[in-house]
Structures are given as structure tokens and as C-alpha cells.
């Protein structure tokens, strides 16, 4: 069962019902392209981790159609080409970092010679070479994440699935991990990222999906999803004379406390703002700054998880028979 050659992950109708009443996933439709960094977002209990665990055969789906690397979801041999770092992972405390890589590498069917080579490479990549022969029990949270990432890459996977990879990692470590992800993308690998850190995702993800109560609420590139919110903010010195914006239908202005005025003009291209700049110059106004703006991923996320009728965040947890309930992990 080969899927579309461009899709590393092609999910249809993924449902998971826990104990017959907690609907963790309610028919997920999602495609992840080959060679992209894909971000999965959602509030607690949205079903993110359940979806990842279904892909990694840790949780059995109630229904699933679709493929991963061209094979049906749940096909164990496919996992030879997949690397996975779970959230809150726990590695054997009695092993050293190097032994952990060897152990999980061997479980992923990586031959000894290749393991020896990959071990040194990856420990160096994640900056853990000096700690390679120390026991895992002596590692900090950040170090565990680094070694966890390295073990996920031992089998030189085509697809890397990372659940909260930067959890507990300091800013330097986060940057290092981001660099690794970008390098993987450059090598043509696909990265599936599940994270709460929206700013992190925004920096690296090509496309994102936002899960809310077991359903895909938003799906696409960040540019596509924020297209409607794209605008230019022009700041001028002093007040804006009346009637200047008359020919700019959607433009609006606002006086700022520091004696300047901000003019906001919806638009996606630089050419969209040129007529406004020409008009302001004709009026001999001093242009302080011109900035292209768009909605941040956080804004997008908040919009997705807000109930438009009540203005409050949608209930935490997977929905149970249409109502929200705690119970499923996310």
C-alpha cells in the first residue's frame, strides 16, 4: 500500500476512543510532506501525544487509514526508518550515554559497526561527547534531551518524530536542537515536531497543524494561515492630518503616546504599501518606520483554541461525547 510519493505521513480518519467514552481523536486528516519540518500544536488534552503514539505503535487506534513512509500505520518494520523521542522519556539510569545510543540503536536494528560510527557522530552533534561515558543518572534534563535526540537519530531515519524535544533545555540547547532539525531538513529528512513552544515552532516549521479537542482546527503553512492578518505598520512623526487616508479604504491610524502616529494598512506585498508612503511624503510627513507585520503563531494558536461564542479557551482535555473532559494525554 504505497501512498502519495510526496507524503511521508498521510493520515485519514484517525480516531481513538479511550474506555469507550473519551474521544481523544475524532477523525484526523493530515499530510506531512517529504523533507519538511512539520509542527503539531494544540492545548493540553487535544490529542497530540495520542496521535504521535498511534504513529509509533505505542497506542492502538480505534480506526486509522493512511500511511507512514508508504506503509500502513502500525507496520512495525517501517519503524526501522523512523526515529522517535517521546515526551517525558525515561532512559535506563544504569547506562551511560554511549550505552543508551547502542541499546536503542540495536533495537532499531542498526548494525554494530554503524552504531559505533553513529554514536561518536551524534554525541558530537548534540554536544555530549564529553559526557558519553557518564551514567545517565548524572545527567541534567537538558542533557537527557540531547541524548534522547541522539538516540532518535541512531538509525539515520527518514522520519524523525519529536515530542517536546526542547522541554527543559536552556536557550543555547534549544538553538542547538533547532540547528540539528534544520540540518536534518537539509539532508532531505522529514521532521514531525510536537511542541508547546510556539516561538520555537515558528522559527523552524514549514507547516503546522493545530489540534483542538481531537480535531484538526488549522492546517497549512504559517504564511497561509496568517495571510489574512498580514499588514504594514507605518509610523510617522506627529499627528496625521485629516483626510490623508481617504483613498485607503482599509487603512486605520492610531496616535501613540510618544507623539507619533501609527498607520496600519492590510497587505501582503511591499507594493501594497508604496501608494501610502507616496501620499505621506507628499504631505511632508516624516516616516519613522515601515514594518511588514503578520499574526504570530501564538496569536493564531490562541484564535484556534478560543471559543468564538464565549471568548474563552475551549475546555482542556479530550472531549467525551461532545463535551470536554480530562483523561487523555496530549
Amino acid at each position: 500500500m504505497k501512498a502519495n510519493g510526496n507524503h511521508t505521513i498521510d493520515l485519514h480518519d484517525v480516531k481513538k476512543v479511550y474506555r469507550g467514552k473519551i474521544h481523544a481523536l475524532r477523525g484526523i486528516e493530515m499530510q506531512v510532506h517529504r523533507g519538511e519540518i512539520f509542527g503539531l500544536l494544540g492545548p493540553n488534552g487535544a490529542g497530540k501525544s495520542t496521535l504521535v503514539k498511534i504513529m509509533m505503535t505505542v497506542v492502538r487506534p480505534t480506526t486509522v487509514k493512511g500511511t507512514m513512509l508508504g506503509r500502513p500505520i502500525g507496520h512495525k518494520p517501517t519503524l526501522e526508518q523512523v526515529g522517535y523521542l517521546p515526551e517525558h522519556h525515561r532512559m535506563p539510569q544504569y547506562l551511560t550515554g554511549r550505552q543508551v545510543l547502542h541499546f536503542y540503536g540495536a533495537l532499531a536494528k542498526v548494525r554494530r559497526a554503524q552504531r559505533n560510527r553513529r554514536c561518536d557522530e551524534l554525541l558530537d552533534t548534540v554536544g555530549m561527547s564529553e559526557w558519553a561515558n557518564k551514567k545517565i543518572s548524572s545527567y541534567s534534563k537538558g542533557m537527557l534531551q540531547r541524548v534522547g535526540l541522539a538516540q532518535a537519530l541512531m538509525n539515520d531515519p527518514e522520519l524523525v518524530v519529536l515530542d517536546e524535544p526542547t522541554d527543559g533545555v536552556d536557550p543555547v540547547g534549544r538553538r542547538d536542537i533547532r540547528d540539528v532539525l534544520v540540518k536534518l531538513k537539509d539532508q532531505g529528512k522529514t521532521v514531525f515536531l510536537n511542541s508547546h513552544l510556539l516561538s520555537e515552532l515558528e522559527m523552524v516549521c514549514d507547516r503546522v497543524a493545530i489540534l483542538v479537542q481531537g480535531r484538526v482546527s488549522q492546517f497549512g503553512t504559517i504564511d497561509d494561515l496568517t495571510r489574512e492578518s498580514r499588514r504594514y505598520e507605518v509610523v510617522i512623526d506627529g499627528l496625521l492630518p485629516d483626510g490623508v487616508l481617504g483613498s485607503f479604504e482599509n487603512a486605520r491610524s492610531e496616535s501613540l503616546p510618544n507623539g507619533t502616529t501609527q498607520v496600519v494598512l492590510p497587505g501582503t506585498e511591499a507594493s501594497d504599501v508604496q501608494p501610502l508612503l507616496d501620499t505621506l511624503r507628499q504631505q511632508k510627513l516624516t516616516i519613522v518606520s515601515v514594518r511588514p507585520m503578520r499574526e504570530s503563531l501564538e496569536d493564531l494558536f490562541m484564535r484556534a483554541v478560543m471559543d468564538p461564542t464565549t471568548g474563552k479557551a475551549l475546555g482542556v482535555g479530550a472531549a467525551s461525547n461532545g463535551t470536554s473532559a480530562k483523561g487523555a494525554s496530549a
Binding site: V58, L79, Y84, R90, P92, L95, Y104
Partner: protein
């Protein structure tokens, strides 16, 4: 193969990291060292270099037989199947709860290895603990018996598979309970309780058997006496005995017939109780009988005197006139087939492991 080797290597490292593994290993070494330090001579016991007067001398038993008997009676019968087995359970009870704990199981299940294979391999790694312990103990005992007793008995190594088999009966239960409760303490306590229950069942069955044989003996004696009384009565009728004597004798016969009837009723009940016990016992693992098999085999393989646990348990019975019943009991237990002992125990194990595997395969983690 790479995966299986990795799991076993990891299990060895895990054992290696456990203090209890090394404590048990050191204690095993001390037990064997104690064997080596004790010997017998013509005056009695010899402890290191000191002679201690003791009834057991080389006139009664050769030094070789002394060491072999020590190995079977104390080393296997007491140390490996009781103390070391409890320590092994304590050490291995956490294997499954740790394995399925959140964060750890995800890392393993996401690898290209089937759940059934993963689970059964993990189960086998638990047996590795006991396998290593018993092997080290047997090698040390083999050397002690060889050097001190002057006899090199490879038959002693039969203890390795037998003790591992015995432990596997308990460990499969521990694994199932660990999977269900996810708790090391709960699975350990419940396994020890299970062990106690099958030991109690074994003792109950032995006691019932002993009482049944005793009752059988008494019944046979009463039937024999009745026959004798009837012959006397017939002679009395033919002779010139008074009617009063005949009447008294007839009353005695009638009483004896009632006693026999009562004894048959009791025997019938005992038979039923024993049959029920045996049915329950057949369905459960037979730990004591499995270890006793080792003694049975070592009698042939290593030329040892049998030491039967039941002999000890019913020593009091042997001392009284019901020696025949005690002998019948010993023979009955010894005559039980290996296939009944191991086969039914293995069936139990297959059932428990099958159930545990099924749960493991279907569970969401």
C-alpha cells in the same frame, strides 16, 4: 538477533547495577564456602582445622557422599529453592513495572520489534538472574565436591535447568501481576502469597494422602480382624461355647462391622477431598515436586541418597506404627510422572504467559 542480544545485554547491565544481585551472589559464595570449610572425619565434623565430636563420621558416610548430600539437602533444598528464590523474586519483581512505566515503554515500543517478542524476551531476561545465580553456585559446589570430596560430578549441573524451571513458575505469575498492577511491591507480595498458597496446597495434599493411607491401613486391619472374628464365631458354633459367649462375640462382630462401615465412609470422604486437591494441584505449578525431581535425578546421576521433603514433613508418622502408610506416601510421591509434574506446570506457565502477552499486546501505553 541484534535486538535480542541488546535486550539481554541490557538485562545483564541492569542486574549488574542492582546491589541485591551482588549481595545474593556473595551470599551464594558464602554458602559454598561454608560447605568447603566443613568436612567429616572419623571423629565427627571438622570445621576448618578444628575437630568437633559429632555422631556423623566417615564410618557412617564417605566424605564425597557428605558433600553431595549437603549440596542437595541444604544447597538446593534450602538455599536455592527458598532463600535465593525469594531474593531473586525481590530482585526481578521490578522488571515489568519498570519496563512498562511511562516514558520508558514508549522508547522501546516505537522500535521495529514485535510486542510479543519484546515481552517474552523481557520475561526471559528475568530468568537470567536465577540462571546466573544457580550456575555460579553449581560451579562453586562442583569444585568444592571435586577438591574436598574427591568426586567430580557433572550431574550437579542438572540443578541449573531445574531451579530455573522452578523459578519460572513463580516469575510468570510475578510478570502477570506486575503488568496488571504496574507496582513492584504489589506484584512481589501477591507472588509470595501465591507461592505460599501452592505450598499450602502441596502440604494439604500430602497430609490428605498420609491420612488416606493410614485410614486404608486401619481399614485393612479391621477387615482382617473381622474375618478372624467370623472364623472364631464359626468355630464357636461348631464347638460347645455357651450361648452367652456366642452372643457377646456376635455383638463384637456387629460393632466391628459398624466400625468398618464408618471407616469406609471416612475413606470415601478422604478420597473425594484428595481427588479435589489433586485436580486443583494439577492446574497449578508444582514447585516442590519440581525441586524434588532434581533429587530424584541426582540419585541416579550423582549417586546421591534421596532427601525427600515429605520424609521430613512426616517424620513423626514414620516413627509411629503407621510406617507402612508413610512408605506408601513416599512411594506415591516418587512415582508421580515427570510429565505430570513438569508438563502441567508448564501448561500453567504457558497459560499465564499467554494471558500476560495478550494483555501486553492489546494495552495502550
Amino acid at each position: 538477533m541484534t535486538q535480542t542480544a541488546a535486550i539481554f545485554l541490557d538485562a545483564y547491565r541492569e542486574l549488574n547495577a542492582r546491589k541485591l544481585f551482588w549481595i545474593t551472589m556473595i551470599l551464594s559464595g558464602l554458602v559454598v564456602a561454608a560447605f568447603a570449610l566443613i568436612g567429616i572425619n572419623e571423629q565427627g565434623l571438622r570445621v576448618i582445622v578444628w575437630d568437633v565430636p559429632f555422631p556423623l563420621t566417615t564410618e557412617l558416610m564417605s566424605e564425597t557422599t557428605f558433600y553431595k548430600t549437603m549440596f542437595v539437602s541444604f544447597g538446593i533444598g534450602f538455599w536455592l529453592t527458598w532463600i535465593a528464590a525469594v531474593l531473586a523474586l525481590v530482585s526481578t519483581a521490578s522488571i515489568i513495572p519498570d519496563f512498562i512505566s511511562g516514558g520508558a515503554i514508549d522508547m522501546t515500543l516505537s522500535k521495529p520489534i514485535g510486542r510479543m517478542r519484546l515481552f517474552l524476551t523481557k520475561y526471559l531476561t528475568g530468568l537470567l538472574f536465577v540462571g546466573l545465580q544457580v550456575t555460579v553456585f553449581c560451579v562453586a559446589s562442583f569444585l568444592v565436591i571435586g577438591f574436598r570430596g574427591g568426586a567430580w560430578e557433572p550431574g550437579l549441573f542438572l540443578a541449573v535447568p531445574v531451579v530455573v524451571l522452578f523459578f519460572s513458575y513463580l516469575f510468570c505469575v510475578c510478570v502477570l501481576l506486575g503488568l496488571l498492577t504496574r507496582s513492584t511491591i504489589a506484584s512481589l507480595m501477591l507472588t509470595l502469597l501465591f507461592w505460599f498458597l501452592i505450598f499450602a496446597l502441596h502440604t494439604t495434599e500430602g497430609t490428605l494422602l498420609m491420612v488416606k493411607f493410614t485410614q486404608q491401613q486401619q481399614l485393612e486391619n479391621q477387615v482382617s480382624s473381622l474375618k478372624h472374628d467370623r472364623e472364631i464365631l464359626a468355630a464357636m458354633h461348631e464347638g460347645d461355647s455357651s450361648q452367652e459367649n456366642i452372643a457377646r462375640h456376635e455383638t463384637r462382630i456387629a460393632e466391628r462391622e459398624q466400625d468398618i462401615q464408618r471407616a469406609e465412609t471416612v475413606k470415601g470422604r478422604l478420597d473425594t477431598a484428595h481427588r479435589i486437591t489433586m485436580v486443583v494441584k494439577t492446574a497449578l505449578p508444582k514447585t516442590s515436586e519440581t525441586v524434588n525431581l532434581l533429587e530424584r535425578w541426582l540419585v541416579d546421576a550423582a549417586d546421591l541418597e534421596p532427601h525427600d521433603e515429605m520424609d521430613d514433613e512426616f517424620a513423626a508418622y514414620e516413627a509411629d506404627p503407621m510406617e507402612t502408610a508413610a512408605q506408601q506416601l513416599t512411594d506415591e510421591i516418587r512415582d508421580r510422572s515427570v510429565w505430570w509434574i513438569i508438563g502441567t506446570s508448564m501448561l500453567f506457565q504457558v497459560f499465564v504467559l499467554g494471558l500476560a502477552s495478550w494483555i501486553f499486546i492489546r494495552r495502550d501505553f
